[in-house]
């Protein structure tokens, strides 16, 4: 059997390594990814403030895959033909090479099982002027983060000369996700400016599509402690107030110009903000894969949502937000084609977790559900196990469930990188998708397992995770002992 994994991010790489470990070498595991390097994306925020180098968060994939006996193809899939074509009923994908040697070369790769783990397309085009090719910065890729750090370094030099600067950090569109990354970046930036002795020269503003701080695209959390159940809004606002960081919530950025941006808030106000430095995250979309049936008829809309994310075993029937339930979330990540799965950011969430809203002018300001990090890796492991069991004759259907309505998440958000005076917010939540019937008191989550605190211990854990996950991704001895 041949199993093809599209993408070598957290979910795809985990799935490929697990498949290789679980299947005998008579089966072939192929990874197709446009990048030659693996990137531990959560640490890009440290690259973006100049605290780490690109080499600290990346490594070459090919030597790892060679050692693991995984076939590595540097390229991007452009088409899926799950029924084959008129000359063969063997399913295949069309791959365009991104390797320097044969860039642009097209080839077909047949598969018995396919895992779509392509991750997101960084949709900077959604907002005019957004992104490193426009007027704002990013830490979404390591190259973006390196560029951001160099701009920051230059500004710090000017601040040391006595010039005041305005920094805007946040989300560059009303439908962004990954607010946690912007949260981490702004507090690492604030910390670095303090370390460099120029904090007083900086005005720092957080702009976010979250209706409230601490929403994180999951509708916020309720945290038990000190005799109270406290919303994460209070927890987050406390940190912003303590660090003297201003904020704008419920915002959609309409346009980013060279030194100012225009935004609209939920109350319909439109305003401009001037900046010297803007690090704004883009919304995510699917990577634009097309699908065709055996007669070469375009079936993209059958396999993918209009956003480009792949439909799996969730309930995608449209209904009002209030009527969605945890049972609507996918469990096995199997598509209507039983040998095709989608995991990580590539699968289409059935609905928002955070309540979608519109401004008075009808502008959609609705954080998309996060599905990165720990849940992504757990999905990778679960789908790899299911496929292994299906190949080994254990079952004809998936044997593992990893619904985000049944999974929890442990998340460490850095707020300053230093072993002695740095800090991070250590959070756990269970489940990720709230279940209001089961946990009515905790805002849909189990209060015993939904926690948050800030301190230097969090930074130690964040640093430990950085080294542990890179060790695991390199598939070094006993890598599989490290959990997702």
């Amino acid at each position: 059997m041949r199993i093809v994994v599209l993408g070598a991010g957290i979910s795809g790489h985990t799935a490929a390594l697990m498949l290789r470990r679980q299947l005998s070498t008579e089966h072939e595991v192929i990874v197709i990814t446009p990048n030659s390097k693996w990137n531990w994306i959560p640490s890009n925020i440290w690259v973006g403030v100049g605290d780490m180098q690109a080499s600290d968060v990346t490594f070459e994939l090919k030597p790892v895959y060679d050692r693991m006996k995984i076939t590595y193809i540097q390229g991007k899939a452009t088409e899926i033909h799950p029924e084959g074509n008129d000359s063969s009923n063997k399913p295949f994908i069309v791959v365009e090479s991104t390797a320097a040697l044969n860039k642009g070369e097209i080839r077909n790769v047949e598969y018995d099982y396919l895992i779509n783990a392509t991750g997101p397309k960084l949709n900077f085009a959604a907002t005019p002027g957004l992104g490193p090719d426009g007027n704002s910065l990013s830490v979404c890729t390591v190259d973006h983060a390196v560029h951001t750090a160099s701009v920051l370094e230059k500004l710090i030099g000017e601040m040391k000369q006595g010039k005041k600067k305005t920094f805007i950090i946040g989300t560059g569109h009303g439908t962004c996700t990954c607010q946690g990354a912007a949260f981490e970046y702004i507090f690492n930036l604030e910390f670095e400016l303090r370390q460099k002795g120029v904090r007083e020269m900086a005005k720092i503003v957080f702009i976010t599509n979250e209706a409230e701080l601490g929403d994180f695209g999951v509708g916020g959390l309720s945290l038990k402690g000190g005799g109270f159940v406290t919303p994460s809004k209070v927890f987050a606002e406390s940190l912003f107030a303590e660090r003297k960081v201003d904020w704008i919530t419920g915002a959609h950025v309409h346009q980013v110009d060279k030194t100012s941006l225009e935004y609209e808030t939920l109350d319909g106000e439109r305003a401009n903000l001037n900046f010297d430095f803007a690090m704004l995250l883009p919304p995510f979309g699917g990577v634009g894969l097309k699908a065709f049936d055996a007669k070469a008829v375009d079936i993209t809309s059958k396999l993918f949502m209009p956003s480009g994310f792949m439909k799996v075993d969730g309930n995608y029937n449209p209904k009002p937000f209030e009527e969605w339930s945890p049972e609507d979330w996918p469990r096995t990540y199997q598509t209507t084609y039983k040998n095709v799965f989608a995991i990580g950011i590539a699968f289409a969430p059935p609905h928002q977790i955070s309540m979608p809203r519109k401004s008075k002018n009808g502008t959609v300001i609705a954080p998309a559900p996060p599905r990165t990090g720990m849940p992504s890796a757990v999905m990778g492991r679960a789908v790899a196990q299911s496929i292994s069991d299906m190949i080994n004759g254990v079952s004809e259907a998936p044997t593992q469930s990893a619904s985000m309505a049944e999974l929890g998440a442990a998340c460490v958000a850095s707020a300053g990188a230093n072993a002695f005076n740095g800090s991070a917010v250590s959070m756990t939540m269970f489940p990720i998708v709230p279940n209001y019937k089961k946990y009515p008191e905790g805002g849909g989550r189990d209060l015993n397992h939904t926690t948050g605190e800030i301190g230097t211990a969090g930074h130690w854990i964040k640093k430990l995770l950085h080294y542990a996950f890179i060790y695991k991704a390199k598939a070094l001895p006993f890598w599989w002992i490290i959990p997702e």
């Binding site: 107030a241 704008i248 079952s395 259907a397 990893a402 442990a410 002695f420 756990t428 301190g455």
Partner: protein, 59 residues
């Protein structure tokens, strides 16, 4: 304007003792152990669940 000035925000501020404890080494070592235990529980609870195998004969 929608800009919330942090200095004017009605948010709870940490006391001097809270700020001190956030970086006080012995306390943070204890927190490190406790957070790791908490996260280990979360990880054990969150690695998915098994679905009974389906075979042709059972269908």
């Amino acid at each position: 304007m929608s800009l919330t000035q942090s200095k004017d925000a009605l948010a709870p501020r940490p006391t001097a003792m809270t700020l001190y404890l956030r970086h006080f080494f012995p306390w943070q070592v204890l927190r490190f152990i406790l957070i790791n235990i908490r996260m280990t529980f979360m990880i054990l609870k969150s690695h998915g669940s098994s679905i009974p195998p389906v075979n042709k004969k059972e269908k």
